[in-house]
């Protein structure tokens, strides 16, 4: 099978990419989705708040996705669901397993990687204790409750205050479970402020900052956890241990871009984001391979995910048509108080209107300023009332601002 653009993943990044590739004129566009239906993780995100930037509305996840699914239905983009990409080769051959279509080898002119992310597990944060049933990641709990109609447990402790965990604290409460509390190892919450208010405070669920789970009890089913306060070094403070009986521990301790395919193909990955190093076109270091959404870096708004998907899709169509030529690239570096910034490379000659930047800060700060410098010269500043690590900052660098940079590498800092 030959296609111009193959999109791996039918979630918000993938569908935006497929539509954009089609609009940009790619004749044959194929979406490969491993789940039974399109929509990606948003299928299970039945809470609202999606699409504020994109549609000016607060949509539930499935409604947000339906707009893309409906738009896709108006095109001749080919969709294969229940189809898992087993391998991507550097020559852009995708090996796909599917019950209906068998084992396919798809040769693609360009590929968009939009596999999303996965959740960090109990082991990746070195939680000690026994290994009983009753320990779930927040996303798995969301799927069980919202899609399978199953309540995982009745008395719940949540570790980590990431957005999915906060949303599940509310959902579990609404479905009749008792959420004893949310414990966060850091001195500040991991999720968006609106979720702290709407999911915890509105339901009187206590949030314990600078606390973590230090032991897990129960041989078969979870019987309880021990929590403890942590010091500034994030180590448990002796004597502060407290036993909490519970049958369920929900973990919301971080997301990791999913890049098994990227890694297998030899795509260069960034040590901080965990996703491919990308340029302004969402091109990875591997020719003809683009990436978008949470596979690149974990975003907190789906609107941003879709936006990167559009860029990747459009660029992939141009690459497949032979229009996207390689040229010299500037490096974009994180400066003071910036943990990462996207894109990490930039081809100034490709930027016509402007280029969207996304960054996360390392530490919270009030009345902060985002500063873009090129060779020491300030090319842009942007005032922020407050910056927090969980809340991504996005801004556009216009072509004229970029022109001021000349050929010098860019450094983005938050001061």
């Amino acid at each position: 099978m030959n296609v111009d653009v193959a999109v791996v993943g039918g979630g918000p990044a993938g569908l935006a990419a497929a539509l954009a590739a089609k609009e940009a004129g790619a004749p044959r566009v194929l979406v490969l989705e491993r789940d039974f239906e399109l929509g990606g993780i948003l299928q299970q995100c039945v809470h609202d708040g999606f699409g504020l930037l994109r549609f000016g509305e607060r949509l539930p996840g499935p409604a947000y996705m339906q707009r893309y699914i409906d738009a896709l239905a108006q095109t001749d983009v080919q969709v294969l669901t229940d189809s898992m990409v087993l391998e991507l080769t550097p020559e852009r051959i995708l090996y796909v397993a599917s019950p209906a279509a068998g084992l396919l080898a798809v040769q693609a002119g360009a590929v968009v990687l939009a596999m999303g992310c996965r959740e960090r597990t109990r082991n990746q944060i070195w939680l000690p204790g026994t290994r009983p049933a009753g320990i779930f990641t927040a996303g798995a709990v969301q799927r069980y409750i919202n899609m399978e109609g199953i309540l995982p447990g009745r008395r719940v402790v949540i570790l980590g205050s990431g957005d999915v965990g906060l949303i599940m604290a509310r959902r579990l409460t609404l479905e009749g479970a008792e959420v004893e509390g949310v414990y966060e190892v850091m001195p500040q919450p991991g999720g968006l402020t609106r979720n702290i208010v709407q999911c915890l405070e509105d339901y009187n669920i206590p949030l314990h900052l600078s606390h973590t789970v230090v032991d897990i009890h129960g041989e078969k089913r979870l019987t309880g956890v021990t929590v403890a306060q942590v010091g500034p070094d994030r180590r448990p403070v002796p004597g502060t241990e407290r036993y909490i009986p519970c049958d369920t521990l929900v973990l919301s301790v971080g997301l990791i871009p999913e890049n098994e395919l990227s890694r297998g193909a030899g795509v260069e990955l960034h040590p901080v984001t965990g996703g491919p190093v990308v340029d302004e076109s969402m091109a990875t270091g591997l020719p003809g391979v683009f990436a978008a959404g949470n596979a690149v870096a974990v975003f907190d708004l789906v609107d941003y995910v879709s936006a990167t998907g559009e860029v990747a899709g459009r660029s992939a169509a141009r690459y497949a048509a032979g229009e996207l030529r390689d040229g010299p690239a500037l490096a974009v570096q994180p400066g003071a108080n910036v943990s990462f910034v996207l894109p990490q490379r930039l081809h100034p000659e490709r930027v016509h209107a402007g280029v969207a930047f996304y960054l996360r800060v390392k530490e919270s700060k009030e009345r902060a300023q985002v500063v873009v410098r090129a060779g020491g010269e300030v090319v842009k500043t942007l005032l922020q009332v407050v910056v927090r690590p969980p809340e991504m900052i996005s801004f556009t660098l216009t072509a004229s601002e970029l022109a001021r940079a000349g050929a010098a590498d860019l450094v983005v800092s938050v001061e």
Binding site: R34, D82, M84, L86, Y95, A97, S98, P99, A100, A101, G102, L103, A105, R118, E119, T121, R122, N123, Q124, W126, P128, G129, T130, R131, P132, A133, G134, F136, T137, G139, A140, R143, Y144, I145, E148, G149, I150, L151, P152, G153, R154, E175, G176, A177, V214, D215, I216, H217, E219, K220, R221, D247, T248, E260, R263
Partner: protein, 489 residues
Amino acid sequence: MGEEYDVVIVGAGITGCGIARELARYDLRILVVDKEEDVCCGASKANNGMVHSGYEPKPGTLKAKLNVRGVELYPRWAAELDFKLVQTGSMVAAFSEEELPALEKFLERGKVNGVPGIEIISGDEARKKEPNLSPEIIAVLWTPSAGYVEVQQVVLALAENAVANGVRFLLGAEVTDVLVEGGRVQGVVTTRGTFRSRYVINAAGVYADKVAEMAGAREFTIHPRRGTLIVFDKREGKHLSCFIGAVPGEYTKGGGPMTTPDGNPLWGPSAIEVADKEDTAVSAEDLRQVIEKDGRFIPNFPTDTVITYFSGNRPATYTEDFFIEPSAKVHGFVNVAGIQSPGVASSPAIAEMVVGIMKEYEPLHERPDFNPYRKRFVPFRERSREEQAALIAADPRFGHIICRCEHVTEAEIVRAIHSAIPARNVDAVKRRTRAGMGRCQGGFCGPRVAAILARELGVPVTAVTKKGPGSELFAGRIEDLRLEKGAAK
């Protein structure tokens, strides 16, 4: 009274299943019972799968004899039962001059024990074999005969072959009493019925002392020793091809980093004496010790690629040797106890020895129809693209990838649930197929595996367990819970 057997074997670990498979050669009615819902749930589950070469046990001990004999027999087991045996050798490292005498001691022991090819090589020679070894290692005891297996695959192979040759397995049956009349064993009472037999073989691991006590044949003691193992991502599997350990301490050789036959780096085990046989919780201290100790050997290893860790209890005896004897007090009751390291390596020889003990009770008659062969089902992920295409064409369920990390298909999970030793819970599916053993630890495939188990077992998904009764995964269906709540009001 329940069914009658010639032999009841208590314990379905590598020892019990190995004995069952070797006794199946003879005209005997054999029953294997285990308190867990699956085979390989005790000490066999929680070790590093190393087939030790045999330099470590004191000459003259049972361990020394059975270890070396076991290594000799392993290739035949692997060939007949079609499990992976990777013989890449093993190393013991000396970081300083002070540790050299210990290497010399084990070189001598190895020679006396008959370990083939054992020698001491320089640190540089060792780094030629294993380039990622620490530059601080000055010398290494090298034994080329050491090998590695995936223990759960060995135990399953043994059990499946035993079943194919007429052995019966009754799992989820805890032994509550051993019947003895007139100084002769008469059978066992279990939570799933009473089974009369002329012989009882006690291969109950950390519980062997309890089972022996039930028979009035407690001729040894067991003290559990916890070991913690850490598994890392397969993509880091190239750091080492063989095991490297430290100079052994007084009671245990301790662990060290290695790579499993399936390609995961594996560190540990640690060794901590514990009072409770069921105490298999991993402590922060266990983890810290393993990381610190094993990290010395390969300093540049990225430990943040951890996938999982777990602990198990080794059934150590106070003599630190295996205890394999027909009871002096109860005729027909055979203790096969204290099988800790090098238990995996010794298991074929242990089975051979127990067959010998049985032959002293009475002559055994070989069955002409014994089939020593068992064919492994080669997993989807290990097959060529052409073979994968053919599998999906024949059964579309091979095209349905359930475990994204390990590329395990629905067909393989269904097969595991209906195999000779059926997988009845999520962990049992995992042991057979690797579904959930990857980096996401079942985050994606968990719901799907549970649904397949429910469908294939004909039970509601709320009855599906992680590892047997009491470990149900879910509180219930939301709809039912709402109805309950409504009724209560």
